[in-house]
Structures are given as structure tokens and as C-alpha cells.
Amino acid sequence: MKVIEIKDVHKIYNETEIEVHAVNGVTLDFEEAEFAVIVGPSGSGKTTLLNLLGGLDLPTSGEILIDGTDLSKLKSSALIDFRMKNIGFVFQSYNLIPVLTAKENVEFIMSLQKWSKKEKDDRTFELLKGVGLAERANSRPAKLSGGQQQRIAVARALASRPKFVLADEPTANLDSKSAATLLEIMEKLNHEEKITFIFSTHDARVVKMARRVITLEDGKVISDEKLE
């Protein structure tokens, strides 16, 4: 079942007198429970493509359909709401809310969606256990290591059972041990939750674990490899 359909998407920036074609005619599909990485040199358009997939930016032309919904046709408030319900984000620098505990960070999206307390508690416990940090539920981000913070960020991204998770260089700030643990956890959750994971990365360890590798160059897909 197709979760994401990208149809001939272009993104052109006109910030200076020179037009920058950040994404140039990309057409891709993503199925349910995929574990895909987007690779390519710096400036190849990885982050721009991820921003377009996440509805954080809109394409200059082309269509991005999530479960059949065209993101560019949604109004600003509906797009935010759509993002909250359907897309999980994992950022390079974790971006947890520093004043909330690990548990509260994971619960945050569920609270915005007005889940009941019991539903929130059960889901949070399940996710914290899943990322191996149930015992740190009441710790604030500042008391956690980088790897632990990123695991909490993954739990947060999965909290409301989104259609897919976008992870922009999630291992970039982690040491190799933490990165390996994080990737194992993400792969496990990908299997268990049947949620599609799409990474942009330079990290060979991530690429090694992926079941699909999409390579971008100058905003174009130059290869799309599905691995067994």
C-alpha cells in the first residue's frame, strides 16, 4: 500500500538573483513499513526533499500525496493538523522540549491530540520501553546523553502512530555505539509498528541497515535501490 506518492516535484529557490533548483523533477513512491534512506552529497537536495515530504515547505510544482491527500492543497492550519496526525519528525539535534521530562516529551503530541490519560500513559510506557528508557521517564533532556535524547525523540515521533517518520541525519551527533543502538531500535520499531521510516543521511551505518537507498544529486534521483 502506497503511503507517499511524489509526482514530478520541483523546488526552486529565488533567494538571490540566481535560481536554485533544489529538487528537480523527483518522482518516488513509498510503501507502508519501508525503511528507506536518501543519500547524496551536501547540496544534493536531501533536506529539501524531506521538508517537502513533511509539509514544512511546499513544492514549486508537482504533487506530494500522503495517503491520497495532496499537501499543497491543504490550508496552513489544516497542514499543521495533518502533520501532527500523520508525520513524525526526528531532528539531527534531538530538539526535545527542555522543560519537560522524557515522558512528557513523548506524551506531547498525544496531549495536543487530546488523548485520554490512560491512552497516553499506556502508549508512552510502551514507547519508552521500546527505546529502552522506561527507567529515565522522569528525567529532563539535560540529564540524558545525546543518544538517549535521540531515542526519546524517536519515541516522540512515533507517539501518535504516524503514517511515516522523517529523520534528518539522526545519527550525525552521536558516537558510534549510541548510533548503533538508535538504529537497532528504529529498525525494531519499524517492524513492530509497521511505520515507514525515511532518513536523510551521510552515515554509512544507516545506509547499511536500510532496505531501500535513494541517491540524489543536484536535486534529481540518480538511483533508487531496493535491498533484500
Partner: protein, 475 residues
């Protein structure tokens, strides 16, 4: 959740929040306390006006106030009293004979308003008898062959029946009040010298004392030297009912001290029977009927009803007699609100600045929140709540401290005796007992919350303008 995050965000930078909260607290405390002090002077002034000088409502012959002619009596006193009594809310009524005259001693003469009063009734209705200066008499209670008069301290001073003498008793009293021995020694050359005015006495003291000593002890010295010979006589002359010049000697049966210099100087009181005998007025003849009511707040309504019932008379309430005071009383709420708005407006700039810094520092986090699903309404609410928390915590702390200080100073009073001359000339007490109505705290609380909301608009708009993609990239 937004509520909780906003509250926690306030305490993220404790020092900065503490500074802005303290500024709000100090500002609100200053506003509340100053207004309580201002309010107390107005409340005390109204209380004095109603309970010592004017009463709530006065009814006169239509021509009485314009001509002050002794002939302008109330034609149907009993009818007037019945009409007033029949008005709901009226508590007590009495009548006065009021004539203009001259009070004199061998030293001075002063134009005065002579009030012939029903002594017993007036004692029940007014608190003027309680303003009797101890040691100056008994408020008409001592039998005397002469006529009796109750006068103000200011008039007594003008008529030179008050002296300032540093007697051995006065020195002993200064010692008891812990005035330093060297100050007392410096004053010895004035022993037993008689000064006929406060000014002359002060001047004599100032030549002997240093300026700080004078400033610190002059009030105590003056009080110790204040001397009055009980039963002093004054002559009061006036026109009788036939327009003939008449007058009599009156023994001063007491001296009162109020906060109103003009009232002390111009009003004196004698038993109504004595004044009638001297003027040839008959029993049952009055110039003015005065009434007190249950609740000062109903003054306008009750006086309007009495006016309707007594169309041929001049019916005035205290607000019409002293419109300046009425204006203060009526405008006081608006003055409070304006004053607080000014203070809070100044504080709002501090809150705006703090919130702008908070938004700037949290650009990346705000971008992340927008990305994961915080909509504009929630972002705005979060910034607004943070701003409201800052103002509410500071504001409520300021109000709490203000209430405690008002409760304490409301009992102990604030002595502004240094400025008493100026204040008492306008009828305001130099001893303030700060007081405030609970309604004021409600108004202040609403204004504080509004300040928080208004202060949040600009920083919140800044936050809403952030582009999540760019904000997340911010370092």
C-alpha cells in the same frame, strides 16, 4: 499541556524572570499602597465632612444661604422634619439656628458662623464632641453662669486664648518623651515666657536649637508648651431678630481640633436655647434642618427624594455643598484605574522585552514545535500565558505585600505632620490610615491580567512569523 509548558518556561531563566516579576511586584505594590494612602485621605475627609461639619443632607429656607439673614427661618419646621423622616434611609434629624457674627477677645476679632445646636442630639449625631482637646473643657457639660461656646483650635489661636509657655511641667513632659537633655537645656532660657502665637514660639525655639533638632523636636516642644486657661471668655456679637446689634460674653467650654483649618476657624457652637434668648428667636424656629442617613452611598438618591417632597426649600447633600470633595469621591475609582494603567503600562515594556528575548532564544524550539504540530493558536497561547504568568505572579505578589502593609499602616497610621499645615488647610488629615475597598483589588487583578495579554501580542506575533524550516536550522 500548553499551560504546563508555559509555566515551566517562565522558570527556565530564573534570574531574568525574577527580575521582571520583582519589577511588576514593586510597581503594583507602590501603586496599591499609594492609592490606599490617597484613598484614605479622601475617605477620612468625607468622614470628617459628614460626621463633623456638614452631615449628609441639609434643608434651608430658599434664601438663607444667599443672604444669611436671621429672618430666613424655615417656615414649617415640623412639616419639614416629617417629610424628611418619612424618607426611607434617613437615620437622624436635628435643627440648628445659624447666624453670622464676630467673635472677639481683647486681642483680636474674627468673623464666625454661630451654630445654635441641640447639644444632646448633636452629640449623638456627630463626632465633633470627640474632637475635644483634653484639658480644654467638657463640651457643654459643666454648669456655668455665662453662656457657653465650643470653638475650634484655630479660632482659639487667632483670638489669642492659647498660649505657649515652657513651664516646669512642660519640661518634665519633654523629659518623659525622651527629648535629649542638651535640647532641654538649650530651651531653658524660654522658661515661663508667654508666647501668644505658635509662630512667635517656633521662632524663639529655632533661635536656640540647631536646624535638625528643631525639625525633629519642634512638634513635641510645641505640644508640651501648649497652654490654655480653662474657662477663657470671648465676646460674640451679632444682629438679633429685629436687626439690632447685640452680643454677649461666652465662656469657652471646650476647644476642638479637626483636620479642617477653615472649619476650626469659622465655626463655633453654642446651645440653641442660649442663642434663641440672645437673638429673640422663638422656640421651634430654625434656619437649617440636618439629616444623617444609613448609608453614604445612598446620599444622591435620598436627597433627590427629599427634594421632591420639599419643593419650596433648598435641599442640599454634602456633595452639592462641597463639590470638590464629591468630585474626588466620584472620580476616585477612575483615578485608581488610570493610575494603575500608567504603572502597568510602564511595566508592560519590561515584560515585552523579556518575552522578546525568550522568543529569540527559543527560535529553534519554536520551529520544532511548529513542525511537529503546534498550530498558530497554540503557539500564541503559550507565549501569551508565559507573559500573563510573569505579570500575574509579580502583580499578585505586589498586591499581597500591599495588602499586608495597608493592614499594618491602616492601624498604626502614617504621620505626615511635617506637611500638616498644607493638608489641613484643605481639610485633609495629616495622619493617614491607608484603606482600600476589595473592589480595587479585583480591578487591579483584571488590569494585571490584561497587561500580561497585551504585553504578549508583539512577542507572540514575532514567534508566529517564524518559518519552521529556517527556525529549526538556527543555532
Amino acid at each position: 499541556m500548553i499551560f504546563e509548558i508555559a509555566w515551566k518556561n517562565v522558570w527556565r531563566n530564573k534570574t531574568r524572570s525574577f527580575v521582571v516579576i520583582s519589577a511588576v511586584a514593586v510597581g503594583v505594590f507602590a501603586g496599591v499602597f499609594l492609592l490606599a494612602a490617597l484613598n484614605s485621605s479622601v475617605v477620612q475627609r468625607i468622614d470628617s465632612a459628614v460626621n463633623e461639619e456638614l452631615s449628609h443632607i441639609q434643608v434651608n429656607n430658599k434664601d438663607f444661604r444667599s443672604s444669611s439673614d436671621i429672618q430666613n427661618i424655615i417656615p414649617d419646621y415640623k412639616g419639614v422634619v416629617s417629610a424628611i423622616k418619612a424618607t426611607p434611609g434617613v437615620k437622624e434629624i436635628t435643627g440648628r439656628v445659624i447666624i453670622r457674627g464676630i467673635a472677639s477677645t481683647s486681642a483680636r476679632s474674627m468673623g464666625v458662623e454661630i451654630n445654635g445646636i441641640d447639644v444632646g442630639k448633636e452629640k449623638e449625631m456627630f463626632s465633633l464632641s470627640a474632637k475635644l482637646i483634653p484639658g480644654t473643657g467638657t463640651y457643654f457639660e459643666t454648669e456655668t453662669k455665662l453662656n457657653s461656646v465650643f470653638i475650634g483650635e484655630k479660632l482659639a489661636k487667632e483670638l489669642n486664648i492659647i498660649r505657649y509657655i515652657l513651664t516646669p511641667d512642660a519640661f518634665a513632659s519633654l523629659e518623659a518623651k525622651k527629648v535629649p537633655a542638651d535640647v532641654i537645656i538649650k530651651l531653658k532660657p524660654l522658661s515661663d515666657q508667654r508666647f501668644t502665637s505658635e509662630k512667635k514660639f517656633n521662632r524663639a525655639c529655632e533661635t536656640l536649637l540647631s536646624s535638625p533638632e528643631s525639625e525633629k523636636y519642634s512638634l513635641m516642644i510645641r505640644e508640651a508648651a501648649w497652654s490654655y486657661r480653662q474657662g477663657s471668655k470671648i465676646i460674640i456679637s451679632f444682629l438679633d431678630i429685629n436687626g439690632m446689634q447685640t452680643g454677649a460674653a461666652f465662656r469657652v467650654c471646650g476647644i476642638f481640633r479637626t483636620n479642617n483649618d477653615l472649619f476650626e476657624l469659622k465655626s463655633l457652637f453654642v446651645p440653641i436655647s442660649q442663642l434663641r434668648t440672645l437673638t429673640g428667636m422663638r422656640e421651634g424656629q430654625f434656619h437649617r434642618v440636618i439629616a444623617k442617613i444609613d448609608n453614604n452611598k445612598h446620599t444622591n438618591e435620598i436627597s433627590r427624594k427629599i427634594k421632591e417632597n420639599l419643593p419650596g426649600y433648598e435641599v442640599l447633600n454634602w456633595k452639592e455643598i462641597q463639590p470638590d470633595l464629591a468630585m474626588m469621591a466620584d472620580l476616585i475609582q477612575q483615578i485608581y484605574a488610570l493610575f494603575m494603567v500608567l504603572i502597568l503600562s510602564a511595566l508592560a515594556f519590561g515584560i515585552v522585552n523579556t518575552m522578546l528575548m525568550a522568543v529569540l532564544e527559543r527560535t529553534k524550539e519554536l520551529g520544532m514545535l511548529m513542525a511537529i504540530g503546534m498550530n498558530r493558536k497554540r503557539i500564541f497561547s503559550m507565549i501569551m500565558l508565559e507573559s500573563v504568568f510573569l505579570s500575574v505572579v509579580g502583580g499578585f505578589a505586589g498586591m499581597a505585600v500591599g495588602e499586608v502593609v495597608i493592614a499594618i499602616t491602616g492601624k498604626t497610621g502614617i504621620n505626615l505632620v511635617k506637611y500638616s499645615e498644607g493638608m489641613e488647610a484643605f481639610g485633609y488629615s495629616a495622619h493617614l490610615f491607608p484603606t482600600i475597598e476589595p473592589q480595587f483589588f479585583i480591578t487591579t487583578a483584571i488590569l494585571i491580567i490584561l497587561t500580561g495579554i497585551i504585553s504578549s501580542i508583539y512577542p507572540a506575533r514575532k514567534a508566529l512569523k517564524l518559518n519552521p524550516v529556517e527556525a529549526i536550522r538556527t543555532e
